[in-house]
């Protein structure tokens, strides 16, 4: 039985797909960190992440893109929706750094402004699925029995579809738009968080400190809020970073299919969809928004990987 359990966790790790970046690399990184810092403390996590080159890139890019996006109405020479029929389909130049699209709109302004949609949808949908998923997973794991079975069978239904198809189905029901897109992706992401949280709770529930809390008549909600959640949080943090990157990608995919954010809002996937007919003669229109999608998704992925390395319980020996 233990063998099988071990095997199952292996499978789960495998599905996560970001496991194990090599022991040597981790060991090397540890040398940078002051030995007096206790592994597992917030200080240690920060030290580990700030020494990780991938995470450095990720953090810098995310801060940069958020800042530029917020400032874009003030720093860009053109408004993102302003059409200029005198400068339609202009190749990148000093006048338009990234060129203009088929309606003469400045691509630089559109890309920077459009970062808002990918980020807002990615982050808010993750918040939604994390909150609901954590609550459901915690309840299922803590109470077990019938509650657990009911909740998990219900979440199994979500697993009957490939995730993009599920998100598309929700989009069909809710309609299009930023808020609907957040809702669709948020609901789609619930089972992932719920499963992760449930597995965590099952691991922690049998720990001695939970038993002690129960013995001194600590109320159930307090045990969950004060003892279980703080101890179960580190895999959740990693999952949050991964989920933001996944949902950002999914929001672009949905918008590309015409099911997410609509014209004239410059969402990156939507920009690609509306200019892809010009790919033969004006490839920059398609290449540039794509690069921004890749860099944003990559940043959150690298950050998630760094968190995983920093919080890895194997290092806390």
């Amino acid at each position: 039985m233990a063998e099988e359990l071990k095997n199952k966790t292996t499978g789960h790790h495998g599905e996560g797909g970001h496991d194990g970046h090599g022991k040597g690399k981790k060991a090397k990184r540890r040398h940078h960190i002051d030995a007096s810092i206790k592994p597992g403390s917030a200080k240690y996590v920060w030290a580990s992440i700030s020494h990780n080159r991938g995470a450095q890139f990720g953090m810098i890019f995310i801060v940069l893109i958020i800042g530029l996006s917020l400032l874009s109405p003030y720093i860009c020479r053109y408004e993102y929706s302003a059409t200029d029929f005198a400068a339609m389909k202009a190749w990148p130049s000093f006048k338009h750094l990234f060129g203009t699209d088929d309606l003469g709109r400045d691509i630089l302004s559109r890309v920077l402004y459009g970062a808002r949609y990918t980020l807002v949808i990615g982050i808010l949908s993750t918040v939604l699925s994390a909150i609901l998923g954590i609550i459901m997973g915690a309840v299922a794991g803590y109470f077990g029995g019938a509650v657990d079975s009911c909740l998990m069978r219900f979440l199994d239904l979500f697993q009957a579809f490939p995730s993009l198809v599920l998100a598309m189905a929700f989009c069909a029901v809710f309609g299009t738009g930023v808020d609907k897109c957040i809702l669709a992706l948020g609901i789609t992401g619930i089972p992932g968080f719920a499963r992760l949280m449930r597995a965590n709770i099952l691991r922690i529930r049998n720990m001695e400190y939970i038993e002690s809390a129960t013995t001194i008549n600590c109320p159930t909600w307090k045990i969950i809020a004060r003892h279980i959640i703080p101890n179960a949080i580190s895999p959740i943090i990693v999952e949050i970073a991964m989920s933001i990157s996944r949902n950002g990608l999914a929001s672009s995919s949905l918008s590309f299919l015409g099911l997410g954010v609509q014209e004239p809002k410059p969402e990156w996937g939507q920009m690609l969809a509306s200019t892809r007919n010009y790919i033969r003669d004006f490839p920059y229109m398609v290449i540039i928004p794509g690069i921004f999608i890749v860099l944003t998704v990559l940043s959150f992925n690298l950050l998630g990987d760094a968190f995983r390395d920093a919080l890895d319980p194997n290092l806390k020996d």
């Binding site: 495998g14 199994d156 490939p162 198809v165 598309m168």
Partner: protein
Amino acid sequence: MIRYVVKRLLIMIPTLLAVGIIMFTLMNFVPGDPAQLALGSGVHTEAEIEAKRVALGLDRPFVVRLGEYITNIFTKFDFGKSLIDGTDIKWELMKRFPHTAKIAIFSIVLTVVVGLPLGIYTAVHANSAGDRVSLFVTLLFDCMPSFWTALMLVLLFSLKLKWFPSSGAKSLIYFVLPTIANSLGGLAGFTRQVRASMLEVVQSDYVTTARSKGLPEREVIYGHALPNALIPILTVIGMRFGSMLGGATIIEVVFSVPGIGQYLVNSINNRDYNACTGGIIFIAFTFALVMLLTDLLYAFVDPRIKAQYVSSNKKKVK
């Protein structure tokens, strides 16, 4: 073993039933009047709409329609008719399924043929230069949206080099680019999963035992480590194949391949909710079927699961 198969089949049926009921219910509450949609654009009198509603059977209570819909699906595999053009959804899906299946099969073959050796190599030579390069490249591919990868492939191989056609599904050559575009993102994830699974196994006790009894390294890796590392990978392959059979939606849209995914997107955009519900339930069916086969294969390959059922049988006999 038979007990396991039966148990697995019995779990599948209520899940599919629930999927059918939930999809039908959700789509029923979508804003917009199906009768109006079926009549098409233009101004229609109240009487016309009412007549259409009766013709579509929408005047009957919700529960009756739901019951009929579910019975039709489970007894006749009948998904009803499209709201827009009145075509039989089952035949529309069947017509499109071969295209989707082709892309799915080619993609999974490509993924396994490239990803498996690469994953094994990088795990065995962990932290080597090749491993680092592979990790970086796969991470990059993992972060590329498939529609962008697809468009870049079109730009390079069909517009610049003119090697492959960029849209359609007339012959096998039309499937080259869709297959590559469909595989690249998944291939990256798959390679890393193989690597992770292999690394986990290489560090296990029985591999150390095999090494310490003096087996040649080849024998240790391919005889002892690999078969064990492959077991969790089997599920991953099954899941990927299952979701690909549900339509590589984005790839089909980019390359204008008339498959299931494209049908689904079109029906959502046309607000053809009958076709949309049918398509989604069809995808859930194929997905569930592939996952069932994967689980059975899994149980067949992994002696531990088999043993679990054999021993519990014996206990019952006692």
